[in-house]
Amino acid sequence: MTNTSLKMQTVCLKYRDKTVFKDVNLEFLQPEIVSIIGPNGSGKSTILKALSRILTPASGYVYLQNESLQKMPTECVARTISILPQSANAPGDMTVRDLTACGRIPYQTLWGSRTLNDDAAIDEALDITGLTKLQNRLLNTLSGGEKQRAWLSMALAQKPKILLLDEPTTYLDVKHQLELMELIVRLHRECDMTIIMVLHDLNHAARYSTRLIAVKEGIVVADGKVQEVFTVRVLEELYDVQVVVTKIERDGCSYPICLPYTKENY
């Protein structure tokens, strides 16, 4: 069963007076994994910010299950959408569990404190991200990969249907990158979650997503299944480089990969 979860309708996005997007129309289904790709400054993160109400559209609407995102109470939205911004920073003397607990804020009333429900959700989020054993460690004693998982654990404690990730694999080594991507696929499969993320690594985007959106200079250049977007024509236009796109067969699976190169030889 799939239906529309998030929808942007003729959305215009601005930072002060600078227009980043004009008349964007995008629709996201429940569940799917969507990666937004494009060069630096193309507005990838801006789309995520609009979808998570961090940035209010100058005109147009963002709908969450057919309700206007701007008109919904913000804590209601927080129970459906989680966002992990690009450069999140927390006080180093917080524990992993403390950080995860912050994900329960949208479920708590002004006067109330934590309930058993909250504790269960925190335990589950720590378990999914493999942090149960590290839950009482201070954040400044963690490695980059563990820290990123701790943030993800906070986002999961919100019990979202939609997870927005802004370059989640930056600063991670290859192994941790793969582990994070596999965790995302698992969340999609087991919890029917929609994951919308900005990725720089094209091969990860092609391998783990069900759909790709390519943006350049505030325009959606291509939007569709991986095999439709992950082509020489689209990628060359998108990044202004030469590209070879091919497939690798391994253990009965085929992975699309691309190799970009510049026009000059050296």
């Binding site: 209601c76 927080a78 129970r79 927390a90 006080p91 804020i105």
Partner: protein
């Protein structure tokens, strides 16, 4: 192993808060008993049990108790204001001075003391208005579709410089009248009465209740604006509410006690070193330890060189700064 660690942390928080209340009680007792005339323990208990006559009653009820309470409330208000500001502005150097409170209160109090010295009774009110006015100006200057923390700090510095210039001008033009203002600038509690308690109490209550309501928001704001929005906090509204609350807390304290710097900056840091950055524990501990610090400092300041009284602000700076540096070094080694 991990569970043990957790136990240690919550135990430490419990110990810090518990011993805070114990110390508060002890300090209060000493503050009431010590002074030009020593009041003994049995005398204090008898007064608190309801004895309504005798010299001890008059000293305690009219002099010591209001002064002790004022010192405690001022300490709690200033420390809370600093703690909230450091969290909201995400800047460890934030203190009530940074949003214009001290300079506004200073200039207005000085205006009264220098221009209409016969109306000194108006000093607390004028100081309060000055603090609120200066904060209002800082607010307007830093408004850009919500409060921008960095702009707020810069605007605060500019406004403080402007009001400071006003104070310097008063000192230059009325050199014969500034004598009385110097003590007020240094901060102190000489002759503070129940009227001052009444001035402070509403804001202390407001601050404490606000603390209980808003600690989660403060915790979320610490993670950055985007994360805070993500977990469903209305960042702009929360920030305005919290800054206004801390401005009122600080303004009430400064208007009663004069320019007591230092408390709002240092106490939150000391407490953070002890209990961590979770505002659920940080805020109440900060309030309690702020009260202890100011109450204790006032007691010592008026007794060591008896009958001479050192302004408590000076005393606190000499005592607190080295202690803070010691804690910083110790924290680094850990």
């Amino acid at each position: 192993m991990t569970i043990k660690q957790d136990d240690k942390r919550s135990k430490q928080r419990f110990i810090v808060l518990g011993s805070g209340f114990f110390l508060l009680f002890i300090t209060m007792f000493f503050s009431i008993s010590a002074g030009a005339v020593h009041v003994s323990f049995p005398e204090i208990t008898s007064v608190f049990m309801g004895a309504m006559d005798g010299e001890a009653y008059r000293i305690i009820y009219l002099l010591r108790l209001p002064r002790t309470i004022v010192a405690g409330l001022v300490g709690a208000n200033l420390a809370l204001a600093g703690c909230i500001l450091q969290g909201v502005l995400r800047n460890p150097l934030a203190d009530p001075g940074i949003i214009g409170v001290s300079s506004g209160a200073g200039l207005f109090a000085m205006l009264i003391m220098v221009l209409v010295p016969e109306q000194t009774i108006l000093v607390p009110v004028a100081a309060f208005l000055g603090a609120v006015l200066a904060t209002g100006i800082v607010f307007l200057l830093s408004w850009e579709r919500g409060i921008n923390p960095l702009r707020m700090i810069l605007a605060g510095v500019a406004v403080a410089a402007f009001f400071g210039g006003g104070m310097s001008a008063l000192m230059i033009f009325f050199p014969d009248r500034i004598q009385g203002t110097v003590a007020w600038m240094a901060g102190g509690f000489q002759g503070r009465s129940w009227n001052h308690v009444r001035l402070l109490l509403p804001y202390s209550v407001l601050g404490t209740v606000g603390t209980m309501l808003f600690y989660k928001q403060l915790n979320a704001l610490q993670l950055g604006d985007e994360v805070a929005v993500g977990v469903g906090i209305s960042v702009k509204r929360t920030r305005v509410i919290l800054i206004v609350a801390s401005a009122l807390l600080a303004a009430s304290a400064v208007s009663v006690a004069g320019l007591l710097g230092f408390v709002g900056l240092i106490v939150p840091h000391i407490v953070r070193l002890l209990v961590g950055s979770d505002h659920e524990y940080l805020l109440p501990c900060t309030a309690v330890y702020g009260a202890i610090l100011v109450m204790g400092a006032d007691t010592v300041a008026r007794t060591v060189f008896n009958p001479l009284e050192i302004p408590v602000g000076i005393f606190m700076a000499f005592l607190g700064a080295p202690f803070f540096l010691y804690l910083l070094r110790k924290g680094k080694h850990k």
